[in-house]
């Protein structure tokens, strides 16, 4: 129900143009779960914001974002505001600042309900309590302010809020990153359970490939504004085709798996500056398996197995082999 075609996002700060997303294609079917993995600066958060046209004014966006057939990028403002939250909603990271500090929780959850008229005004209060119960918070919490809740509780409020208008798609942008490991597991479980129960599609963005591999059906790895590998989540994690995906997978040892702990880890160098990308494959300066071709050809996604793609020259040989 979500189709992204050749999405390009370029920020303009002063006189520099910073291409944050350089041609991304995505497909998410109804009820499916897609993970997007990558380090900071790869463009994944920009991608998330772009899906609902939440980028700052002056940002150049091109391509197609089809939400149930309608192109978000060419919608009228009125239609866009109607689609926001009711069609697709976002769970932001670090709900510390994503919630308004001077409004009570109940009011903030009720706000989209009233705006989109999901339920008649008389039923709003009951619905808010329902939502809070679904995320495991007591009804009286509706009267609390954000600063009175813990990080995990605030994230749960964000989830409740995101589900309020029964959207068809939920985008979780680093929804568990700032949390303690135990809370992280709880919140993840909540998100996956609630979206599965309701058949809501999920796009989950994280830098933790191991988490994505266990919660999502498919995963796409981003680097320097492009997708460099995508395929079934488990497969990409256990046998990555792209060297960067391999490094990312290795960075997060699977708990309980002895072998993963002993694997060589770490990646030298820094992520590239989006304003000054190296020629050819953007990963080539840090890649162990780089060859001469990598710096001269613009490496695009190519088939790397059943339902898998990767943007690496070595894939061609491996597939042929």
């Amino acid at each position: 129900m979500l189709t992204v075609r050749d999405l390009r996002v370029t920020y303009h700060s002063g006189r520099t143009a910073v291409p944050a997303v350089r041609g991304v294609d995505l497909d998410v079917a109804a009820g499916q779960r897609l993970g997007i993995a990558g380090e900071s600066g790869c463009g994944k958060s920009t991608l998330a914001s772009a899906l609902l046209r939440l980028l700052p004014p002056g940002t150049e966006v091109s391509g197609e974002i089809l939400l149930d057939g309608e192109d978000v990028l060419t919608m009228s403002f009125g239609r866009l505001r109607a689609v926001r939250w009711a069609g697709a909603s976002i769970v932001f990271q670090g709900a510390m600042h994503a919630l308004n500090p001077v409004h009570r929780i109940g009011r903030q959850i009720a706000e989209p309900l009233l705006l989109h008229r999901t339920v008649p005004p008389a039923r709003v209060q009951a619905r808010v309590e329902e939502l809070l119960a679904q995320v495991g918070l007591p009804a009286w919490r509706a009267n609390s302010y954000p600063h009175e809740l813990s990080g995990g509780q605030r994230q749960r409020v964000m989830i409740a809020m995101a589900l309020a208008c029964e959207p068809r798609l939920v985008i979780a942008d680093e929804a568990t990153t700032a949390l303690d490991v135990m809370i992280q597991a709880q919140v993840l479980e909540l998100i996956t359970r609630l979206t599965t129960e309701r058949g809501i599609a999920l796009v989950m963005i994280s830098h933790d490939l191991s988490v994505l591999s266990s919660t999502c059906d498919r995963v796409a790895v981003m680097y320097a504004g492009r997708i460099v590998e995508e395929g079934p989540a488990r497969e990409v994690f256990t046998s990555p085709a792209h060297p960067y995906a391999a490094a990312l997978a290795a960075a997060f040892p699977t708990v309980g798996d002895e072998a993963s702990r002993l694997r060589p880890r770490g990646l030298g160098g820094d992520p590239p500056d989006p304003a000054h990308l190296p020629p050819g494959c953007p990963f080539q300066p840090r890649c162990e398996r780089a060859v001469a071709r990598c710096a001269s050809t613009d490496v695009r996604l190519r088939p790397a197995g059943a339902g898998r793609h990767a943007a690496c020259v070595h894939v061609d040989e491996e597939v042929a082999a």
Binding site: R81, A98, N100, E111, L115, E148
Partner: protein, 321 residues
């Protein structure tokens, strides 16, 4: 909460005592010999001076003088005016309400105008509206208040005789409550415009700053993602948060308003406390000067405390602490 108020009360009392002491220090110690001041320009023999000194208690040790001064002031006796031969307290009571009328009206107007324009300007930072508002505010802020008053008089009372050149009432106005009220209102226009013009600029700049501070916050993105219209995002989310520090500053700025009141009342011969202070300056009438000093300072102390308390009530994060 009760403990907090009790602490505040203690602080206010202490500050007011400091004000009393400052007044004593300034006017009794620095002000020179009161007998000298009283008898300035009059033919007085040394014996008469000595008798006067005994009468005023000036031959007693300083701390005794201070104590009797404290006693007198706290029981409402602020001495007798040199010029009017009336108790100072009476004079102050007479002139109190005109000042409140003038400063109250001007403050209300200035706050409303300043906050409204400041919000709009900050929301659309860098726009023509923003830049023109800031330029205008800075220019008006840079002009001496009394000068603006004189310009107003020259333009709208002399060259275009639409308003009176001064005073609060026209002695020849037809009797009747409505006539009297309209008469005062007619006299009020120019002074209020003058004061408002200078004061609103301060509030505009402060509110704009506050809004700019809020602009980067995540909860605004959340609000937009929910599908809220831009002006609702501004009014419902940004403004309540931006108002918090502004409210405090509005109260703290009362000192500046009082300064403005003194000069504006003088220019327009508005029969308030400011004009009284000016007359006392010219005479010189030390008891009245001291009395007005006390009243002004006390008002500012109380306003500052009110600012703290109100901020506490408004900000839910501080309320809990």
């Amino acid at each position: 909460m009760a403990k907090y108020l009790a602490t505040k009360l203690g602080a206010v009392t202490f500050s007011l005592l400091m004000v009393l002491f400052s007044a004593f220090f300034l006017f009794r110690l620095l002000g020179g010999d009161p007998v000298q001041n009283l008898t300035r320009g009059r033919e007085v023999t040394p014996e008469q001076k000595a008798a006067l000194r005994r009468e005023l208690g000036l031959d007693r040790p300083l701390y005794e003088q201070f104590l009797s001064y404290l006693k007198d002031t706290l029981s409402g006796d602020l001495g007798t005016s040199f010029e009017y031969d009336q108790p100072v307290t009476e004079l102050i009571a007479e002139r109190f309400w005109p000042t409140v009328l003038l400063t109250g009206t001007a403050t209300l107007l200035a706050v409303t105008l300043g906050l409204w324009l400041g919000t709009r300007a900050g929301w659309r930072r860098g726009s023509l509206f923003d830049r023109s508002q800031v330029s205008l505010a800075l220019t008006l802020w840079s002009a001496p208040t009394f000068w603006l008053g004189m310009i107003m008089i020259m333009l709208f009372a002399v060259m275009l005789p639409m308003f009176p050149t001064g005073g609060m009432v026209n002695p020849r106005v037809a009797p009747g409550l409505l006539n009297e009220v309209l008469d005062v209102a007619h006299h009020l226009v120019l002074p209020v415009l003058t004061m408002t013009a200078v004061v609103y600029a301060q509030y505009l700049l402060v509110m704009r700053s506050s809004v700019l501070d809020e602009l980067g916050n995540d909860y605004l993105v959340t609000a937009r993602a929910k599908g809220l219209r831009d002006d609702l995002v501004r009014r419902r989310h940004a403004v309540p948060n931006a108002l918090l520090p502004t409210v405090t500053l509005v109260f703290l700025h009362l000192g500046g308003i009082i300064g403005g009141a003194i000069t504006v009342e003088t220019v327009f011969s508005w029969p308030g406390l400011g004009y009284l202070a000016y007359e006392a300056l010219r005479a010189p009438d030390l008891p009245v000067l001291q009395g007005t000093f006390l009243v002004f300072s006390a008002a500012v102390v109380i306003a500052n405390t009110a600012a703290d308390i109100i901020y506490r009530f408004l900000d839910p994060r501080v309320r809990a602490a």
